[in-house]
Subunit: 359 residues, 4 copies
């Protein structure tokens, strides 16, 4: 019941703070005899790692992951897999300012109110550093899902600027620092973000994650629906304020005549052809075999140069600005995190479905 | 782990199908000695009940709830509260058409693929009839929350037509069949919806639910965040395709300069004044004491008069149209359901917070 | 987290009090397409039903079970199965005496202290009547387990009188009112119990439940061990004060030389022959393929004719005796309940094991 | 749902193998602002540590615990507490013999059957080394319980030799290597165990754990009863084969006349005097305020010098004996583990009770 675990059958628990000795997680329920090495996980961590472009925080964290239990001779054993990453770049700086002041739009005030104590160094437990462990868990989830299921994320909007979906090219996402599938949008974003970065400002983003090859039948109606678990998963990512499946909020504006995904005969009885995918691959909370399409909105980084009005822990009015290393668009680093969360949700439901139905 | 329960400390489990003998739920973890009568619950059920205007299905269900355990002499005992509602209007009709055909955008196909069997009568378990039990559980959750917390929902968009938020007046929501807080929007919607209804078509909607008086400190970071549990909760409601907190997707277009909710001294150390509420009352997954603001998008009813292309359980191509009693805008009835789900999430977190912190 | 559910993948939740309108349960996670009728469940309920001999309470409850959701055309659908039994013999009697007094060795005092309120009529929620629903859930668990797994219980000790295990004959358990596998012990018990009954006294018992045909591999080390879940399961049964697996407490007196269950080649690589079964079929928390052997101790019925000293809810000293209909040996009715709990634990672990390992 | 977590509100998850890099655990749900240092935990670990007398394995493990998250400036923060201990004495030895052979009465065969793979080095995950982390979690649970609740364990039987309860003196448990409260029994055991040790044999034991000062009201009927959770907890400890509460199995031999714990007026309305404690402090699954008394049986160490018949992973018949460092009576080291498990169960229920009832 406490909040630091995710999933039911494929279940991970994370621990660690931004400026403590390290971060880690325990993944329980992983099927046995899956090949798993540190390199398998490191690949995904490297995609999320900060400091890879001028648009992400310049904190230098190698994020070298160690597997400390749960594998034997290169295979998972079915017992808990524990992972650990040491924190190596906790710059010894003066925390005097944020020690007593609540940074607006951060978790400072609410942690204080909930717990009556907070580790103010770098946000402590509320730091986005925690998401490295989601990416690590996601790498293992992908092993559970196998090679026929692919999960890819892309940034589809930066600030008010959405991509042109006609230009969508998955190959582009590795060609720019935004995971942007639209080359021309990426170029425009680069210019815009550079301006915001220099001004000490920040901007929000929309991320889209697509799961392909997901079999029909995953999801536990009515409270463990695949889409409700995906919504929960994405909303647990730092700074996320909205989630949608398929047409999402656009569905509110549609009529029933338009919204139905009609069906035709496909390549066999278990693979009909859908003539559209307004539903985003989930009907009644269960996967349909179509692509799973999830989008989520990330608010702009709250740590900005400009002074904002706030109060301190004694209730006094004051101002605060953030001088440290920060991302002008945290949405960028949310892309691999969103992929990881989808992988974990799907792995969880794959095992749950197999448990109940045997298939 | 199976999917029919919701909540951790305040936990409810629902059962029942559209055309079976009845529906019900068991609510476990309710604090003892709360006054509770059937009338307390019936009040909320009556708000959701179908057949109250020409815009909701004409199925006549009195939805009379019975408390069958968990109270004694008008008070809760701390043991499980069981509720039951008999199904009385399962019109004996010919199910020949939907028996073998998959209705597009419904759960027919996915239940079939998941379970290899489905109760096709009225959608069986996937029917929105199940949501009556959420409303019932929500009525009890409100008792747990007490009188200082209020939870109200409103329809803020029907099809492409959003309300004018300047006109927001909570008193209006009981004055029109849409729970619409903008009287002029309600009038326009009435006309529009009548046209869609006559055409056998349907339309989507956006619902907003607001929790007021919620104390700071509720929520379990990082995977049991208050907003992620709210997102999950709303996404479990039938036909919901998107959820947002506070500014939601609009936050993606904002800059950090604009998005911060600045703070000033308020009425005491535990009640600062926030100068805005972009966050929707949740920071770092924990309530801030501001209003909790959640919106969700409901897709248009999938059951429409027009013929849509589909396949049958044998894989043959065919067409289907829905002739029965249906809602041209299911979003209307989703309003009390959304309120109930917020109440249940808040009650759950209130008990969890009290357990961990003692306050 | 609240206490009225059992199991993870095969999960049931019970509700109801002794003298309320009825009792019921919801079973979630049941695999789809299993044949299931009310008669399948009633068979097991009839074995537990009170009033079948002079050694069980004379309360007349037909305990006729109704399936109110989760099946369709005689098959399970994979959605929650809800069961209900009406209470028909809540004799309208004067509760004056137990209303305010705490019956020693009953749950009266502790419910009062925990909840500050209690339904004193017949014990309310703490009544053994609740166990009828375990038996019903167990009947469905047996469906999940299939025909190759058998679960049978026997009473192996009444008061200080243990059976002679040399006389063990499963066929005898249906030939006497004690589920006693030793015909000569049963005869002696009958005489002894008749004396206790007439004296208004009661006696304890030891029950043994044996699962045969259970495949190797079930159990989740280290905190969801098969034997720890069985221990928990049996200890939840009313009046149970001890549980043991295999040799149990006798193992404490043994040496390592004696306690090992040596292994020889059996009928194939997956079926070795064990030369003994001191372990009771569980090693390291995982089933070995041998018989699962569990015993539990039931204390004597606390409701007896003799006056016992107690206090009332106001703290005053007083005396109480119980005049109603009661079992001189509640252990008798615990036999089918113990069988049911083992069935539920095994079904749960069968589904969990299949989920993780695919086999 | 996977098996490596324990508890609901106070929840810990352990990881690690006997001969991997280390072991650890994550404890979630701990109340904030409790003083906690590594020394607080180390005290209890030192009591369990092997190699302290000739009666426990000579493996030299300093078991130095590190707190790697969840505290700040000496106080708990309410976020997950992660603990780690490095394995330093994994003697590089030849595992040739146990690599392919199943040691009787060990988990070798069942892990193999469940997972199709096993880390055979020192038992891997099934090693009693895991219990160090329970002791660490228990130290934190004691902080949650506070100073008015004390939990102490004692060995009350070694092999067939029980203590004389008339001699019970808690002060003695620190005076002998057996945690034995009866000085004369301890002396006799020492002689006996020395003989068994030299013969390469081993022996079982019975441990008793007593919780004093536990408030009335803890426990969640009917499936989260305090005693059923205690039974589960103790049964998860390696080599435990039986658990009993209060009179336990002796209750089966009693009559109702004898078994009732009569009540008299005590020191105030909330503190009656009980005239006996047959129930072991739990009635109807809820604590009564009396001492919580739990006993559990530990089987003799399965690793002995004598050759035992077994099979190997290829199904061939063979023999095996264990030459390594092992405990002639693993029951000794189970004493602090049993204490820790009781502390964790009580802390969990304390938080759960406070959540539901507010007190």
């Amino acid at each position: 019941m406490p909040g630091n675990s995710f999933g039911e059958a494929f279940r991970f628990t994370t621990w660690g703070e931004s400026h403590g000795p390290g971060i880690g997680c325990v993944i329980d329920g992983v099927p046995p005899r899956l090949p798993l090495s540190e390199a398998d996980i490191q690949t995904y961590l490297d995609r999320r790692r900060p400091g890879q472009s001028k648009y992400t925080t310049q904190r230098k964290e190698p994020d070298a992951v160690r597997i400390v239990s749960g594998t034997f001779e290169g295979l998972t054993t079915g017992t808990p897999i524990a992972l650990a990453i040491d924190n190596v770049d906790q710059r010894s700086k003066d925390y005097g300012d944020i020690k007593d002041k609540f940074r607006p739009a951060h978790a400072d005030y609410t942690y204080w109110r909930k717990y009556g104590i907070r580790d103010y160094r770098g946000g402590g437990r509320s730091s986005a550093r925690e998401t490295a462990m989601r990416v690590a868990a996601g790498a293992i989830a992908r092993k559970v899902l196998g090679n026929t299921i692919s999960i890819r994320g892309a940034m589809v909007q930066m600030g008010p600027h959405a991509i042109d979906r006609e230009n969508w090219d998955w190959a582009q996402i590795d060609e720019n620092p935004f995971w942007c599938p639209d080359a021309s949008a990426a170029a425009a974003w680069a210019e815009e973000l550079e301006g915001l970065r220099k001004a000490g400002n920040s901007v929000g983003a929309v991320i889209e994650v697509v799961g392909q090859g997901v079999p029909a039948g995953l999801g536990e109606p009515v409270y463990g629906k695949l889409d409700s678990d995906l919504a929960r998963a994405m909303m647990t990512i730092n700074a996320v304020k909205g989630v949608e499946i398929g047409d999402g909020f656009a569905a509110a504006a549609a009529t029933g005549l338009d919204a139905a995904d009609e069906m035709r005969k496909g390549d066999g009885p278990d693979a009909p052809e859908f003539l559209s995918n307004h539903a985003g691959g989930v009907l009644g909370g269960i996967s349909s075999g179509q692509d799973i399409v999830v989008r989520f909105a990330v608010k702009p980084t709250s740590s900005i140069l400009a002074e904002r009005r706030t109060i301190d822990i004694h209730g006094n009015e004051t101002e605060i600005s953030t001088k440290g290393r920060h991302d002008p668009c945290v949405g960028i680093r949310a892309v691999p995190v969103g992929e990881a969360m989808m992988a974990c949700v799907l792995a969880d439901h794959l095992l749950r479905h197999r448990g109940q139905t045997g298939s």
